[in-house]
Symmetry: C2
Subunit: 335 residues, 2 copies
């Protein structure tokens, strides 16, 4: 497999990206193409003593940053690392793109260059949130602020395929994020989507478990939580915000006095699991589901370890052929 | 002041309600009317040795429960404790109603019987969420799933008045819950609302601090977080769900072995503040903002202490004359 990595995008680019790529190459093998400023990348690879690893460089002089308009950035900055990576993927130069750059620009670019799967109305960005017992896939977690019931139906299918094929969850439970558990809850969008999901469940195509409330998702009530991108984004950010707030309060408690500091030392070994659960680096990133080629979005704040995890996830995504699975089922996913 | 309390509604009614009323009467003075089954309430008051307190009983034979249709319950069950309380308020029999019953039924009933303030399009249910540094008022937190920009503008004003007059926050910072911090973020509803809030800020009427993301709210980035009732409900439930999930994980860590159990004993005294912050009993409840008389919704799961807190909040709401403040400003709050 050949992985195309946008070396110049993300808060910690290019150092963390190159370093993460080196980690991945050492751990997983495979071939890698780092896209970006050739001399900069070459120097970094030298520093990492990574010159004999199967990592090549595809030169791109420009970088898309946070000030570029996401809708037009990839088209206008054709020589940016992100654009070059997406064109390289389109032209068969590799099997997947991984980028920690601007989400909106990457999505628009992937849609423009690599195209959506035929019949898919909108690509969705899923996020694997920590929950009781593991992870729940929330989608759309921010790509599409305004949605139709058909988009949400497609998100349900795509999330279900992803959880089954990439995350190994058998018969994943799909929940519709709503403002109450009863069938009749929600606005027009939710009510219409509910009917469609129920129909898909009746035909045995997805395992729809009904409406889920915001409180049900962290409890692990479903494996796939379906939401429009506005609600999904608010939910995702709220999870992050509350977790960070509570961990901060806890830290204040630990620092309160000698007793609590001592207690922290006793707890520290046992706290590792919780920290790991809340850490974005463990998941690394997620693909834009619905794009006809694997385009993987890594966190903007990715460190080397997060890039390594994103590579791992991207490899699993390619191997599982989720794109093919969506294509084979597209007739059931459109109105 | 005379407080009308629906004694029969809520998960722990009537015991916890009567007991909370007795706590309030002992602590705050004032007069109370418990609405519900006379003999049951009388027995409970006797048990509490509360017969000389200024608590009277207004008889109502029926109860609205979770199986009643919220939209029609108050109209159809006229002799329910909730309906009787709302009519008593309308007819001047007291200064505020407090009920731990079905939120939808209470809102529909309050709208039907006690009416909205003239010019207010929809009453909102605010929730005081824990955040860094104190509490943030989220509204609407569930009463109105589908909203217009005008509703959200009104929520912003009403929330602002509530935080200033009842919670004592000077010049409260109003944020619009959105899927990004930039001005241009959001769906049509958010974009239109943003313009209106900015206009209100330019006129010096509210302290609008711009868009807030889900992660900004727990960080205490604003005092009033404005959302449609769908998003607000998902956000509120997510906060509850994540808090409960993390506290559960923490409990598991504490129970892991002898060392961690000992650590917990050392931490316990310092954990009180966090527990209090996350406890619904400390806030008690919230008024339906926009109803022309004070109608207070206490948590369905209220224990006696939560009812006592709800009484305290309701008294502050009456004293602050938020209803009058809304009426005096209504011209700026309508299109």
């Amino acid at each position: 497999m050949k992985l195309i990595i946008d070396a110049m995008s993300g808060d910690n680019a290019p150092e963390a990206i190159v370093s993460g790529c080196v980690m991945a190459a050492r751990e997983f093998g495979q071939e890698y193409i780092l896209v970006g400023k050739e001399d900069v990348i070459r120097d970094l690879l030298k520093k990492e003593n990574a010159e004999d690893l199967p990592i090549s460089i595809h030169p791109a002089a420009d970088v898309i940053d946070m000030h570029d308009d996401p809708a037009t950035a990839v088209r206008r900055k054709k020589d940016s690392s992100m654009s070059a990576a997406l064109y390289l993927l389109r032209d068969g130069g590799g099997d997947a793109v991984i980028s920690a750059g601007n989400t909106g620009a990457l999505l628009s670019g992937a849609t423009l260059v690599d195209k959506r799967i035929k019949g898919i109305r909108r690509a969705a960005l899923p996020t694997a949130l920590p929950c009781k017992g593991g992870r729940v896939l929330l989608l759309d977690s921010g790509a599409n602020a305004e949605c139709t019931p058909e988009y949400l139906l497609q998100f349900a299918y795509m999330g279900s395929f992803y959880m089954e094929k990439v995350m190994g969850v058998k018969n994943p439970r799909v929940g519709l994020v709503n403002n109450g558990a009863e069938d009749t809850k929600g606005d027009t969008l939710r009510k219409e989507t509910y009917q469609m999901l129920q129909q898909a469940a009746a035909e045995g195509r997805i395992n729809f478990v009904g409406n889920v409330e915001g409180s049900d998702v962290p409890k692990g009530a479903c494996d796939v939580a379906v939401a429009d991108g506005f609600t999904g984004n608010v939910m995702l950010k709220t999870v992050e915000g509350v977790a960070s707030f509570l961990m901060g309060e806890l830290k204040n408690i630990f620092l309160q006095n000698t007793r609590t500091k001592f207690a922290y030392l006793l707890l520290k070994p046992a706290m590792g699991g919780l920290k790991k659960l809340l850490s974005a680096s463990e998941v690394g990133g997620a693909p834009f589901l619905g794009i006809s080629k694997p385009v993987f979005k890594a966190h903007g704040s990715s460190d080397a370890r997060a890039i390594r995890s994103a590579v791992k996830q991207a490899m699993a995504y390619v191997d599982a052929d989720v794109v093919g699975e969506i294509e084979r089922n597209i007739d059931h996913m459109t109105l």
